[in-house]
Amino acid sequence: MHLDHLPHGPAAVSADAHRPDGTRRALRIGLGGPVGSGKTATVAALCRELRDELSLAVVTNDIYTREDAEFLLREAVLPPERITAVETGACPHTAIRDDISANLEAVEDLEETVGPLDLILVESGGDNLTATFSKGLVDAQIFVIDVAGGDDIPRKGGPGVTTADLLVVNKTDLAPYVGSDLARMAADAKTQRAELPVVLQSLRGGSGVADVAAWVRERLAAWTA
């Protein structure tokens, strides 16, 4: 608590690492990136990897439908009560960065109704390369781009590519078909991100997901340490 008095009722500020009852809250990891890069599919794959060992929940930020939440429900990656959709009023980046209140409410409600939780994945609505999560909402963030969006995206940079805690370059299996140079993407990402990690992922081919899951486990170990 950084306030100078003990609050009655729920905590005022949700970056606090503890819940009102003093227990440690769940680690929150954000997944952002452009439309169609595979954020929801990555969330689904992570849920399948981690659900047997962790207590998980997901918040989706659909822009104008509940399709992302419904995809996760249809795929049955988690029980329905562990998936919540937030409506973003045509501005997905506002809901994860400038005004995080609806997302904070969603993560708190999940902890209250299905908790205790180890991990909450917060998926952004598809957005542009400048969209990043507020530190008041998530503890770490993954930015998901894909090879079909153009192999110049890592070179172009932008806050998502350069500052995300993990960059996932998705759909690597498509690279030969769309003329994307994977080696160049990896080299450009390295230049933009210095020591920050990059994972090349192909959900179709099954590669990369284990690396993303391993990164999440490391984060969780650091969070609970």
Binding site: H8, G9, P10, V13, R66, G89, D98, E105
Partner: protein
């Protein structure tokens, strides 16, 4: 009081969740009732004198120290649509979080304990204004301005309306807003003296009905 606190609270970028709500504009646009700046002005005028007046009076009454639990019940009684009640409580909860972070005080903490799922937004707005050292008139102005600025900015997104036209609508409504604010503050004073039954109970039936329909749409840009 500090006058600048009013600007902080009234700022459209104050992080209290309002950006995801259209104040009924999305449903009205889809129904063909708002097609341009002229319709938008009519729509906003309707809101100003109904939902706006009630919200302004509730907010001002909260500043005057009327029991927030009574005000919340009064707001419920004046909001027939369950979807709008839910939206108002969600927004109230979000505003309370922002207000507690901005103007921490025991009163806001107590209200958070009373309403874990949120109180009606105008009631919280009044309590936030009170915590910020503002007066009943300030709170009424904030509530009234929100009641028209929300639909105006939403319409810019929904219709690709020229943003200068939308802002012009708000500017033209300003003198009327002054008059409604005065009524709202008067009603709040009577509520403080004689109880919440003295609060205005104006409502736009079509706003309430269309809010119910909007809540059932499978695809929409705004939460309400």
């Amino acid at each position: 009081m500090t006058r600048a606190a009013l600007l902080v609270l009234a700022d459209g970028r104050f992080p209290a969740g309002g950006h995801a709500h259209s104040g009924g504009a999305e449903a009205a646009v889809k129904a063909g009732r708002i097609t341009g700046a002229g319709d938008l002005e009519d729509f906003c005028r309707g809101r100003l004198h109904t939902a706006g007046l009630v919200a302004g009076a509730l907010a001002a009454a909260a500043v005057l120290g009327v029991d927030p639990r009574e005000l919340d019940a009064a707001a419920d009684a004046r909001t027939p649509s369950p979807a709008l009640r839910l939206a108002a409580r969600r927004l109230g909860r979000q505003l309370l979080r922002a207000a507690r972070a901005s103007w921490p005080c025991a009163e806001l903490d107590r209200v958070a304990g009373w309403f874990p799922k949120g109180a009606h937004q105008p009631v919280v707005l009044g309590l936030a204004a009170r915590a910020a050292g503002l007066g009943p008139s300030d709170a009424a102005y904030c509530a009234l301005y929100e009641s028209v600025s929300g639909p105006a900015t939403a319409t810019v997104r929904l219709l690709s309306l020229d943003p200068f036209d939308a802002t012009g609508v708000l500017a033209r409504l300003a003198p009327e807003l002054d008059a409604v604010a005065e009524s709202a503050v008067g009603a709040a004073g009577r509520a403080a003296a004689r109880g919440v039954a003295a609060l205005p109970a104006a409502s736009g039936p079509l706003l309430e009905i269309m809010a119910e329909a909007h809540a059932s749409w499978p695809a929409r840009l705004f939460a309400s």
